[in-house]
């Protein structure tokens, strides 16, 4: 009899306090749409625990795929994390909400230059998530000079020793930079000059191949002296092979940024803002950055990096280097010209 009354009392206590427990807010759910393997899962768990908001998580592998899924009505997303030029396009097409920075106090901690990116003035629609650059990854065992310029990957001295990216935007973009043109130029003369340089590079027998995913493993295995590479992949390769170094050439390059946005279709705006704010909190951003190992947009996280990490240009590019770099702009209006040029180079 005594046991029973204890149980009843316990049950009463639970029902009484239940509304106060976080579980009660569990109906609140947001759907986050992010790149594949681009978040530390424990960060999501911690967010759910602390706020009681449930997170549904969906992946994409290219921003174009994200765009198709988003526009074809395949799913409703509360947070999307696309790249700079796609954000520019989504703003143009009026698909993103303006953010309420009162709900994102932690965004104050962003690195200063990222608060006003060219693709989204004053960050009205997006808050940076991760960022990086395009540069040259080179193997000091094979290269005895100091690499500072894009000219090096066009030097016939390196026979079959350079991997180029099978990505028309990056490859043509860096060649434009080498020749001193803006990376987003519409000038056909400039584009033709870049095309000629890339065709000559191929004719001279410098290029070992045009690849994307395979390059990092090949560079780790010492298959080539140099490769054009995204800083994130470069960092991965450097961790595996000590002889590899990454440099952002002096002519400048492309800088890219993935940022969190809230689509107009979002129904849970407050929870979405809470998620963005959470991801900007320095301890969370640090944890997430350590998992992904890309450059962080949060100033305080940079200060938390150790000495060795700070020295990697792939992880912590210097301000001068970034100043020489440009964001890509939406190319959909002159893709035909790019298509022709790219076919002529690779065909």
């Amino acid at each position: 009899m005594k046991k029973l009354s204890v149980l009843v009392a316990l049950a009463l206590v639970f029902t009484f306090f239940a509304p106060v427990l976080p579980a009660a807010r569990a109906e609140e759910t947001i759907t986050v749409f992010n790149w594949y393997d681009y978040i530390d899962d424990s960060v999501i768990e911690q967010f759910e625990e602390e706020t009681g908001i449930k997170v549904k998580y969906a992946n994409f592998t290219t921003v174009e795929e994200m765009y198709v899924k988003m526009t074809s009505g395949g799913g409703k997303y509360d947070i999307i994390i696309p790249s700079d030029y796609m954000i520019e396009r989504l703003i143009k097409e009026d698909m993103l909400q303006e953010l309420d920075y009162d709900l994102i106090p932690n965004a104050e901690g962003l690195i200063e230059w990222m608060k006003d990116p060219s693709y989204d003035p004053e960050g009205a629609h997006s808050v940076p998530y991760m960022w990086g650059t395009v540069g040259i990854l080179y193997n000091t065992e094979y290269v005895d000079e100091e690499i500072t310029s894009w000219q090096s990957i066009f030097d016939p001295k390196y026979q079959k020793d350079v991997f180029m990216l099978k990505s028309y935007r990056d490859t043509i973009g860096i060649t434009l930079k080498m020749l001193g043109y803006p990376i987003n130029t519409h000038d056909e003369e400039a584009l033709n000059a870049a095309k000629e340089a890339l065709i000559q590079q191929k004719k001279d027998g410098i290029v070992q191949g045009y690849l994307v995913d395979e390059v990092k493993d090949k560079m780790i295995g010492g298959e080539a002296a140099m490769a054009v590479m995204w800083s994130g992949d470069a960092m991965y390769a450097i961790m595996e092979n000590d002889s590899l170094e990454y440099v952002i050439p002096e002519e400048g390059s492309n800088v890219w940024l993935d940022a969190m946005c809230i689509p107009k279709t979002c129904e849970n705006v407050e929870a979405a803002h809470a998620f963005i704010d959470f991801m900007c909190r320095p301890d969370i951003a640090y944890k997430n950055m350590q998992y992904i190992y890309y450059s962080t947009p949060i100033a305080e996280v940079v200060e938390m990096l150790d000495e060795e990490e700070l020295e990697y240009e792939a992880l912590n590019p210097s301000e001068e280097a970034v100043e020489r770099c440009e964001f890509f702009q939406d190319t959909s209006d002159f893709i035909d010209i790019y298509n022709k040029i790219w076919n002529e180079i690779t065909a």
Partner: protein
């Protein structure tokens, strides 16, 4: 009459997965990005860069098919001969690679041929100069032959296996030497299998894209690569579809041509 009901599911299957996709491809090939009628993409197929890619695809696929035939015919003969019929294991060994995923095999081939790959490591161990294997046309052809050889052996093997041995004996009794028996009796009778093998090797070889990327390091763009690029990178579905149409026309033409030299119309052992 009732039996025609059985064909219902197949007809539905064909409409859904053969006819509908073909209509989509046709639609995209003849429209531009805004959905208006346009032959722009079709004309682009005739530009020098496209023609260059096309000729390269046909050349490599042709070399691959010839090598497969030269290697595959004797292999099929050996497998079909009396001495080996007992050894089922040998037959299994020939088709065993097909049980493994094709992409996995190609990745493995890549690590064999790389600059610091297995072959070059062995060569260097014995004091030889390392060879440039990866990223060459030879590597692409090697990968194709390795992957598609079983498709040549199997149909020829089937054709040889069901050949009436009395015909061969009769030829021998009538005084034909072994070479003559082969050229006048065995080979002509196996032609349906050979044609089947040729189509089954040539078609995937001419449309491949993974092999040329992994073994050719993206240096030799083939039609398959070009189509892939149009869809995944350039988002030019129209040009991609036009290229696919172009390729289909080539394949239909070459099959038609092959069937003309097939002497045994009506009772073929192959698929075509």
């Amino acid at each position: 009459m009732k039996r025609s009901y059985f064909s219902g599911p197949y007809a539905l299957w064909m409409v859904l997965f053969t006819i509908c996709p073909m209509i989509f491809v046709l639609y995209y090939a003849f429209t531009n990005g805004d959905g208006g009628f346009s032959v722009q993409s079709i004309l682009e197929c005739l530009e020098p860069t496209t023609i260059r890619v096309f000729l390269r695809s046909v050349k490599l696929a042709f070399i691959c098919t010839v090598i497969c035939l030269i290697l595959g015919y004797p292999a099929a003969q050996i497998l079909a001969s009396k001495d080996f019929s007992k050894y089922k294991l040998l037959f299994v060994l020939f088709i065993l690679p097909m049980w493994m995923n094709f992409l996995l095999r190609t990745y493995a081939t890549m690590s064999l041929l790389e600059r610091r790959g297995i072959i070059n490591t062995i060569l260097e161990r014995f004091g030889f100069e390392p060879l440039t294997l990866i990223g060459t046309e030879g590597a692409v052809v090697f990968g194709m032959v390795y992957n598609y050889l079983p498709f040549m052996i199997l149909p020829i093997h089937t054709a040889l296996k069901k050949m009436d041995t009395r015909v061969i004996e009769a030829a021998q009794d009538l005084g034909a030497n072994p070479l003559r028996v082969f050229t006048r009796v065995i080979f002509p009778l196996s032609i349906p299998g050979v044609i089947s093998g040729i189509t089954m090797v040539f078609m995937p070889a001419v449309t491949t894209f993974a092999i040329s990327r992994l073994l050719g390091s993206g240096n030799f763009m083939l039609l398959g690569d070009m189509i892939e690029t149009q869809f995944l990178e350039m988002h030019d579905w129209s040009f991609g579809s036009a290229l696919s149409m172009f390729m289909m026309v080539i394949i239909v033409l070459s099959i038609g041509l092959l069937n003309r030299i097939d002497p045994s119309k009506g009772e073929r052992s192959g698929n075509w």
